[in-house]
């Protein structure tokens, strides 16, 4: 972990921060860059000397010597060029790695509030595109900027010493080039964004066509769909062409400076050449130097544009890194043995909202007791479970575990006491056994895995897979149905053997037989394990000790099945619809 002072420096002066942390790579890179440019600046002079020697019919031996010097300089260039690339490369790849990991560590510590505000797509883009463009800025961007400045600093004096008059006359248009390049790059960037938008539209239509293929085929809509797709496809093509058009300006703009310079040179050099004031070698060398000025001018424009983009990215990165968690893990208490859970006048509303999701909820649950929660959509069931697992900060009321406020308990210990199996079945692209062992410190034993899948009635399905438990899930692996996934997540929860298993409507994916098996498994461990479930089916609520009926965030009823049936109109209505004697056995 880093100190606050270090973070401060990083946020204020990222470049300086990374130079300080990797001075060797940066220093060596700069040194080699300087050497490269020095040698690069000198070699046309040697060429000039050779041509002058040839023109003046110097002896072949002398020419040979000049050629050897030329070869030596070029060989030196080979080494220094490798040197700066390798060292600078180290500088920016290490910096990018550092910031990438810092972001990942930070966001994995943040709660759902943060993820509501920042969709995963945007965070992905932060970790890939923004990190990339930050790297581009402090790596290649900085490099070409430095390169450009050094080349100008080396070349310009040489040109002036060759011929002052030629220098200012030929380079008069050059300063426009960086500006034009910057402009073109901005246009490219702008249009590229449009192209990206069109691309997501294209993906959207493709996605819906493939996803809804059954409907499309059922209603014989293939041709219509293709027409629709062609529409967005043509819009994308148009956007691509726009980028291509701007992009194609790049090279002509880049060459504009040198072209104008060379043409001017031909006009202004004529008199000096005729009068013999300037040698032919000087003319050729000077022409070469004009050509050499193309790159630094382009580099200034490009480097500046890179920097602009990189710093915009860094601002976004900084914003995320400076987001403080709203559920700081500052508790010190570890729950050794779970005894009681108490909700005391708990009310909750989401940030930026004035509507209460939960109002004044109170109840007490002892170890070993099970609880069923029921209520219409939007009555606050899931929120209650989220507060219990402390995914949101509690502002009104108290949640006490063994009498301790939830905030004083370490997150890890809290999760080891109440394990929530969320509504949406999320599995990882790992093997089935790895997924089952997700929360364990090491992979569960084969018999244990076997037993778990039997409980959730998945054994038959898994046995029919080519690699059984070792089958990979996800894009590259097998595709499980929604119900199968849900059952696997339940098994992943049961295997943890936490004192309380919290199931958020996960049981909707299992039949009554499986439901019973799960219940039995939880009972088995000397009654030490119990469950809190959110359910829609009455059958799921059979055999729980308490039922909590929520309506519009408030407790409508609390008690046993029969008690609740008397008190709660919501429950009565449910029994009416689903019922037909379903519960009496």
């Amino acid at each position: 972990m880093q100190t606050a002072a270090e973070n401060n420096l990083l946020y204020k002066r990222p470049l300086w921060y990374y130079i300080k942390n990797n001075p060797r790579a940066f220093g060596l890179g700069m040194l080699f860059l300087l050497l490269t440019n020095a040698l690069d600046g000198v070699y046309p002079l040697i060429m000039k000397a050779a041509i002058d020697q040839i023109e003046s019919q110097a002896p072949l031996g002398a020419i040979g010597k000049t050629c050897l010097i030329f070869l030596a300089i070029m060989s030196g260039l080979a080494i220094t060029r490798y040197g700066w690339r390798a060292n600078f490369g180290r500088f920016h790849t290490y910096a990018a790695e550092h910031i990438r990991q810092k972001i990942f560590r930070h966001i994995t510590s943040l709660g759902p509030n943060f993820f509501h505000k920042n969709p995963v797509g945007e965070l992905m883009s932060l970790l890939t595109n923004d990190v990339q463009s930050f790297r581009q800025a402090i790596g290649p961007g900085l490099l070409i900027l430095a390169d450009g400045i050094i080349i100008i600093a080396v070349n310009l004096p040489i040109m002036i010493s060759l011929n002052w008059g030629w220098t200012w006359k030929t380079l008069v248009f050059l300063p426009v080039v960086p500006f034009l390049i910057w402009k073109v790059m901005r246009l490219i960037h702008l249009n590229y964004k449009i192209q990206q938008d069109r691309f997501s539209e294209l993906t959207g239509v493709a996605q819906e066509t493939v996803g809804g293929i059954r409907v499309i085929k059922s209603f014989a809509q293939e041709k219509n769909r293709t027409d629709l797709f062609n529409g967005v496809s043509a819009a994308f093509e148009k956007a691509c062409n726009k980028v291509a058009r701007v992009d194609s300006f790049f090279i002509p703009v880049m060459e504009f400076g040198v072209t104008s310079g060379s043409v001017i040179l031909l006009f202004v050099a004529k008199d000096d050449l005729y009068s013999g004031a300037v040698t032919l070698g000087t003319f050729v060398a000077f022409h070469r130097y004009i050509q050499k000025m193309v790159w630094p001018m382009t580099a200034l424009g490009m480097g500046f544009s890179n920097f602009q983009k990189g710093y915009a990215s860094f601002d976004r990165i900084k914003d995320v890194l400076q987001t403080e968690t709203d559920i700081p893990d500052q508790g010190t208490i570890n729950i050794e043995k779970f005894q009681t859970l108490e909700f005391k006048n708990v009310s909750f509303k989401h940030r930026d909202s004035s509507v209460y999701v939960l109002k004044n909820v109170s109840f007490t649950l002892k170890a070993g007791e099970s609880l069923g929660i029921m209520g219409p959509v939007g009555s606050g069931k899931t929120t209650l479970l989220h507060l219990l697992t402390r995914m949101y900060p509690l502002e009104e009321g108290q949640i006490l575990i063994n009498g301790h406020p939830i905030e004083s308990i370490t997150q890890e210990s809290l999760h080891r006491t109440f394990l929530l199996v969320p509504q949406e079945a999320f599995l990882f692209s790992e093997s089935i056994s790895d997924n089952l062992s997700f929360g364990l410190t090491e992979r569960a034993s084969d018999p244990e895995i076997q037993r778990m899948t039997e409980i959730v009635d998945l054994t038959r399905e898994i046995d029919s897979l080519p690699h059984k438990f070792e089958s990979q899930l996800g894009e590259r692996g097998v595709n499980l149905s929604g119900g199968q996934k849900q059952r696997l997540t339940i098994a992943r929860g049961i295997i943890m053997k936490t004192p309380v298993l919290v199931l958020d409507d996960s049981l909707s994916a299992v039949d009554t037989r499986t439901e019973k098996a799960i219940e039995q498994e939880l009972r088995k461990n000397h009654g030490a394990m119990s469950r809190i479930i959110v359910a829609h089916r009455l059958s799921s609520l059979k055999g729980v000790d308490h039922i909590l009926i929520l309506k519009e965030g408030q407790v409508e009823a609390w008690g046993t099945f029969d008690q609740v049936l008397q008190q709660s109109p919501t429950f009565q209505k449910t029994v009416q619809i689903q019922g037909k004697g379903d519960h009496h056995e």
């Binding site: 629709l228 031909l266 943890m496 039949d511």
Partner: protein, 603 residues
């Protein structure tokens, strides 16, 4: 689910090499011949102009400076200006036209691919994840485009430039050319060797990047689970390892690229040095004019950059060939096929007859439907009941020809089903699925599916008859109200109603309704019951029913058990018989027929 439902690897069946790629892209390229031709002219023009410039300067030196001819020099300056302007034009034209050409080609390719995909059999979609098919249509086509515009075109353009340089050099002095380029093969070999290395590293890098990104995406999407299971620490360590690994591979690629530079530099040094030295020698023998030597030196410096470009681009895009392989593998996937050219039949009455139907998905798999015999008169409604896996879904898939039943087992109006075109039978047989796909757009789009044959008043009427219009009005919406992706802003009940309205708008002769088991809010539940009556009225209907109230409305009930018809009859008859149906009806939701697993299986 049958057991070919998994694919461990994305099998690439179509191997693509450069010749294959050109052959397969040619049909698309041919449609834009004019564009292609103009682009090639621009490349050739650019290369020619670029070679004329050193020649011009050489000429200026030999004839202007040496002969002290003022006129020549002024003319040369103007000519030079003209050439540079031309060069800029060609350079812009070449870059732009090729990209426009490439984009056009990709458009055609996408269209073809989309057409093809939609005509693939349903089995294909059952065993291929949606994301994979979408990637073929979008990202893969795009990277094929990159391979084309940045790879193929760059190689072509630069080869032309190199050829023009060599020709220009040879024209000035073939002896000097030979001497200067004598070591070229050695350097080219060395750089090819290195760029193969680079390609391998880049491939590795790309793999590691996508691995890392997949890890990030998964951890962020599943952040809740990661945090709840106390896995944050462990996953951070895992990420650190991936991130380090990526960085180190990135460094390797940078170093390999950096090594390319010295090789090119040395190559450059050797050619220029030898040109200088032997140029000096030839000049002393008066075998070459000084102006020509200057032109030669200018030309030879243009030899290396295009060569480097080729080596960098060519190898880099070799990797993109995999995209082409994936695209053409999909393109070679066999479509739903018709036995022969079938003529269209016009309207049907809706009589349905099934004779001795046995069906299995593949030869080695067990029979899903066994000895089914059933007569449904036009306008009659049938409730199909049975537990999950009893063959209900298979049965309806056969009626829409998503799978082909054995010949002469299913007849509509006395015509064997396989004698009616797929597209046509799907017009006649309409389906409401349990979980209907809802498209992004408006409610109108979802009812009429954007089909130009469905008019506004048909959509209006359909929505009114199902009672959906009233619901919309009550909630202050109308047909143009937006529908989010997958209909996420609509309730389950509303999505059902849209599917019902769709049926009324398209007005098929035969209706298949797979009733939803999901929880529907009581308000919509009511409307849906009425709407069910509305859409089945006077229409041959087969309903996979889960609610007693729906079943009771049907004329006859067919009980399926393990692929066989167990009981047929009206509600009263079957209740009297006290068989499976009786059990079902009396047990209500706890019945084995209503097994509670709400997943819908497609096969």
């Amino acid at each position: 689910m049958n057991n070919d439902n998994f694919m461990n690897e994305d099998l690439v069946k179509t191997k693509v090499t450069y010749p294959v790629l050109f052959k397969r892209l040619w049909p698309y390229a041919r449609r834009e011949k004019a564009l292609l031709f103009t682009a090639i002219v621009a490349v050739a023009g650019g290369a020619t102009v670029a070679r004329l410039i050193p020649a011009l300067i050489g000429y200026a030196i030999d004839h202007g400076v040496k002969d002290k001819d003022y006129e020549v020099f002024t003319n040369v300056a103007f000519a030079y200006l003209g050439l540079e302007v031309l060069r800029s034009l060609f350079s812009f034209g070449n870059a732009y036209l090729f990209q426009v050409f490439g984009n056009r080609m990709l458009f055609h390719l996408r269209e073809d691919l989309m057409n093809h995909v939609q005509r693939l059999p349903l089995q294909f979609f059952n065993k291929t994840p949606t994301g994979r098919i979408v990637t073929r249509l979008t990202n893969d086509v795009m990277s094929l485009g990159e391979l084309f515009t940045e790879g193929v075109i760059s190689v072509f353009t630069n080869t032309v430039i190199i050829a023009s340089v060599v020709i220009a050099l040879g024209l000035i002095s073939w002896k000097l050319t030979l001497v200067s380029l004598i070591l070229a093969p050695l350097f080219i070999w060395a750089s090819f060797y290195l760029s193969n290395k680079i390609r391998d590293i880049l491939r590795d890098l790309k793999k590691k990047l996508s691995f890392m990104n997949a890890f990030i995406a998964e951890n962020l999407n599943g952040i809740k689970v990661v945090q709840l299971y106390n896995r944050v620490g462990k996953n951070r360590d895992k990420f650190a390892a991936l991130s380090h690994d990526y960085r180190d591979t990135h460094m390797r690629s940078i170093r390999a690229y950096a090594l390319m530079q010295p090789i090119m530099n040395l190559f450059n040094a050797v050619t220029i040095t030898s040109a200088l030295y032997f140029g000096g020698y030839l000049s002393s023998q008066n075998a070459i004019a000084i102006g020509s030597l200057v032109a030669f030196l200018m030309n030879i410096q243009d030899f290396i950059p295009p060569l480097r470009e080729i080596l960098e681009k060519y190898q880099q895009f070799q990797n993109s060939l995999t995209s082409a392989e994936r695209i053409f593998t999909l393109m070679d996937e066999p479509k739903e096929f018709e036995i022969e050219q079938l003529t269209s039949r016009g309207a049907l009455r809706g009589d349905l007859e099934i004779r001795n139907l046995n069906f299995q998905y593949e030869n080695h798999l067990p029979l899903v439907l066994k000895n089914i015999n059933l007569n449904v008169k036009a306008g009659e409604s049938i409730a199909l009941v049975g537990r999950t896996g009893s063959g209900k879904s298979t049965f309806i898939s056969l009626l829409q020809r998503f799978y082909d039943a054995p010949e002469k087992t299913i007849f509509v109006d006395g015509i064997a089903l396989e004698r009616i075109q797929r597209e046509e039978i799907r017009h006649h047989v309409g389906v409401v699925q349990q979980d209907n796909f809802i498209f992004r757009g408006t409610i109108r789009d979802n009812v009429g599916l954007g089909d130009p044959r469905i008019h506004e008043d048909q959509i209006q009427m359909a929505c009114e008859k199902t009672g959906y219009m009233q619901l919309l009005q009550r909630t202050g919406r109308n047909l143009s109200s937006p529908v989010a992706e997958r209909g996420s802003n609509l309730s389950v009940g509303e999505r059902q109603l849209i599917a019902f309205a769709r049926i009324l708008a398209f007005n098929p002769d035969i209706l298949i309704l797979d009733e939803a088991t999901a929880n529907i809010d009581s308000e919509s539940e009511h409307i849906i019951q009425d709407a069910t009556k509305e859409i089945t009225r006077g229409r041959t209907s087969i309903i996979i029913a889960h609610r007693l109230s729906t079943i009771e409305q049907c004329d006859r009930i067919v009980v399926l058990n393990q692929g066989e018809i167990a009981e047929v009859g009206s509600h009263e008859e079957l209740m009297k018989a006290q068989g499976m149906y009786y059990q079902f009806a009396s047990l209500g939701t706890k019945s084995p027929l209503f097994a509670g697993k709400s997943e819908s299986t497609t096969s």
